[in-house]
Symmetry: C2
Amino acid sequence: MSDYNPPLRDMQFILSELAGVDEIASLPGCDEATPDLVDAILDQAGKFATGVLAPINRIGDQQGCRLEGERVISPDGWKDAYTQFQSAGWIGLSLPPEFGGQGLPKLVSTPVWEMWFSTNMAFAMLPQLNVGEAAAIMLAGSDALKAAFLPKLVSGEWGGTMNLTEPQAGSDLAATRTRAETQADGTYRVFGQKIFISYGEHELTSNIIHLVLARLTDAPSGVKGISMFLVPKYLVNPDGSPGARNDVRCISIEHKMGIHGSPTCTMSYGDNVGAVGYLVGERNRGLEYMFVMMNEARFGVGLQGVGLGERAYQQALGYARERVQGRDAVTGENGQPIVHHPDVKRMLLSMRARIMAARALLYTAAGWFDRAHHHPDAAVADKCRRYVDLLMPVAKGWCTEVGNEVCDTAIQINGGMGFVEETGVAQYFRDARIITIYEGTTGIQANDLIGRKILREGGATLIELAADMRETALRLAADEMLSSLGAALLEDIATLERTLEWILSNGRAHLDWVLSGAVPFLHLLGTVCGGWQMGRAALAAQAGLEAGKGDADYLQGIVDLSRFYFGHIAPHSAAWARTVMCGGESVSGHDCMAL
Amino acid sequence: MSDYNPPLRDMQFILSELAGVDEIASLPGCDEATPDLVDAILDQAGKFATGVLAPINRIGDQQGCRLEGERVISPDGWKDAYTQFQSAGWIGLSLPPEFGGQGLPKLVSTPVWEMWFSTNMAFAMLPQLNVGEAAAIMLAGSDALKAAFLPKLVSGEWGGTMNLTEPQAGSDLAATRTRAETQADGTYRVFGQKIFISYGEHELTSNIIHLVLARLTDAPSGVKGISMFLVPKYLVNPDGSPGARNDVRCISIEHKMGIHGSPTCTMSYGDNVGAVGYLVGERNRGLEYMFVMMNEARFGVGLQGVGLGERAYQQALGYARERVQGRDAVTGENGQPIVHHPDVKRMLLSMRARIMAARALLYTAAGWFDRAHHHPDAAVADKCRRYVDLLMPVAKGWCTEVGNEVCDTAIQINGGMGFVEETGVAQYFRDARIITIYEGTTGIQANDLIGRKILREGGATLIELAADMRETALRLAADEMLSSLGAALLEDIATLERTLEWILSNGRAHLDWVLSGAVPFLHLLGTVCGGWQMGRAALAAQAGLEAGKGDADYLQGIVDLSRFYFGHIAPHSAAWARTVMCGGESVSGHDCMAL
């Protein structure tokens, strides 16, 4: 297994040059994010990730979790690592100080989470749930619920879960059957089975706080009859300590292809008297609240793509530098490390270019998120909120696809050694396979993008975004050194706009054609947004070079990487566009029941 | 786990309409391949694959192989299945009658092997080695070696292996260190270590015949000093029975991501007195002979891509037909199986279209192989031989990439159920990950394509092939119903030719740029050849429809699938071409040691 090196230089470049960390730090409520503090946090996180999380990642894969009666036993060393993680206060990094968090901007916590995902994704899923659950409770919970649960979730003393899926209700939550009965004391009793519940049971925390979607007995059918309940594993005593065991248990855990350290549980609520639950927010608005948690989780899963990709890239680069094989195709020189073979270089650069594009997009989106919440100019805040909403399916859908491609390429660079388990790269590949699925598959993201984010508003925000992207492209085109990148980006933006027009004009009459092209369109938009970010990166790097500021080799490498992106990745934009506009009918015409 | 249904209708369509099985059966030496016999063989193979191989595939994955001392123990039921496989005479299907084979054309054995790979790839790798080894011995072995070993390899009483890789010699066989010492009796003693040897040790056969690359003590360095030796696990008694144990043993087996039922062995030759070996053919020509075995294996590995893809497709289609989730995006109707969702349809069609294109290409190539060996017109035979040579890297490289993509899509269609191991689709995905690696990675195939197959002859054969493809495209363009397919194919062929010209004119001055685009070019050529085959399929199906012959629904489905291919897969041709022509410099300019 290769060591993990926190990619601090890349992270800092994107934070300062593309995501605007200085501007964010100047916003009201974000002023703690001074450059010194940000540096210190990234440095500490890098050390923690490398020293504590990375060493137990493989143990987690090899040992997995096991169910003993109703207990779920985590792999060796995980409990200790969690205790350290919790004590260091990492969970509350971007959560509000009033509940014990540090209140830092999302932009600052984003590279930190990337490092957790790089070094131990299966582990990081647990604290990730706390952050999402805290967001949902802050939004919708009563003051009493907040006071009782938020401090423990923010500190990480207790764990969180999100319970949506049931055997008949996967992507389609309208089919939810778990029910909740009103009790005289204002609490509820929850009955039903939930599946695929990450960290539904474990002993890393002294209590587990489940957020559960269920129907009240008099609720309307469909998604408008779903409420959210908070169901603790242990009921909470008046003094705040865990009390009696609640009527909820894990009845099985899944045998999965990856993330073995993260228990995926089938949870049974109310086998006896009913699991005591507390209504979160108003009745029948559960799905709306869960989407807050879900959106937080979707961004995080996109970041998992970058994190796993970075880890796999580092491993592959290390292998390619050391592995001597074959001779130089041009000079005939022998004894060359494979990193010099053109195809291996191509693969390494395709990994790095995709990771950088996806990372830049996610960090930039994190900056929008902070501006949406803190920017004093309402117009700026509103625009940033709309950009976040529009691109959330891309942040999740495209970045997870990128993560899978990058991990796949890492295996290929390792050759036969990639297929055996000892190098560790096989684990990244297996772990990555879940990220295009959970928190809404790529198909679900793409439908969300087309339906809720584009058709519903006639494409207004995307048109605005395309105009912003064109500004970058024109700046590139005007730069002597970067004009070819500008020309390529302008072409891709025009292709995107043409495709959007086609979608808008066919959304009504041929919705089936449009939806057949939803995933290709998500790839198109992701690829163009990635190009936009790589173009911005090239502009910033070129400016640094011309000003003689910063590490010239590094900056030139960024410009070159941007060129690679436009030579190897961006060209597929036109293909995705053609598929959206010309491929729909060939899908609709088919009756796949007859295949 | 879903059942496997032999795709006999698709196979028969391709055999008769695209690969010309009737013409092949009319060639001298192929006349046993009557339609009735072919039907009977496919029918029997389908039953055997479904009844015997499919049921033990999962057992193989779950139990894997284990090393006990020097013994390798196969999973439960595998020995019995192998005995049945051997008794039925399947191994000799396309091998010469003089050594006990049935002497059928490769075209007839190809769909049979596809079924073995679909139902149990890890198992089928063993008999596949026999076929390749037999080809090498037939080519180069002395009459005595042939008489002693071929009948047992053809019957499958003994197993075969190919021993190329050493720790320092993976893709680069010039670095081979295993050595062979001449003995007074004309035999040799072999010393060295070989790694990644599939079925290097097992007890499914009573003897194992290793073909080993090694250097004679006086051999020149590099690839011109490698000889091939036949090293039996048990020396052979004068009566042909296995005798004393030879000095070769398995010292470890790999822990792999997939194909757990196939033991991947580290073999140690000559720990004591040296392993007795027999020189195959002439000294220092071992690599040349091994390439015969290798080419056979490469075709077979391409077919593994189709086989695994077909199995994964059937599983995903079955799941999509049964899984009820969500409502119809257009009609709003509830309780729909997901097969009706546009994105799921898109995914299923992309699987089927890729599989059919790759299958058609491989079967067509098998037909060329038979014509190359049996066609009485030397010009036809020669052209077919050249087409096989040119396209072998595509048959291996592109079809294995297709197999991986298809298995990946199958996971996606299954959603969360695809990530858990119980559906079986995760195994296909894990198993498939080796096929773009072994027998030469996709990068190696692409370098072979550019270097040996194109630059060396100035692109002559590819120019000829493009002209043949254009003929198909013009026929499509002239057909009222299919003209849009013709236009798309013509465009792609022109793109291919333009890219070829660029390669030919830059091959000398900018070989590094050209090689940076080798894999993108392999994708381009594969995608265009796939489109050519789908175009041929559409023409045949349309002709059948117009003549009122055959199952009209099936034939219309083929035409529609071809349309899908040109709407969803072929559009990427232009992107690959652009990368080849514009992306090279951005790779060459990089020093990846400095990343």
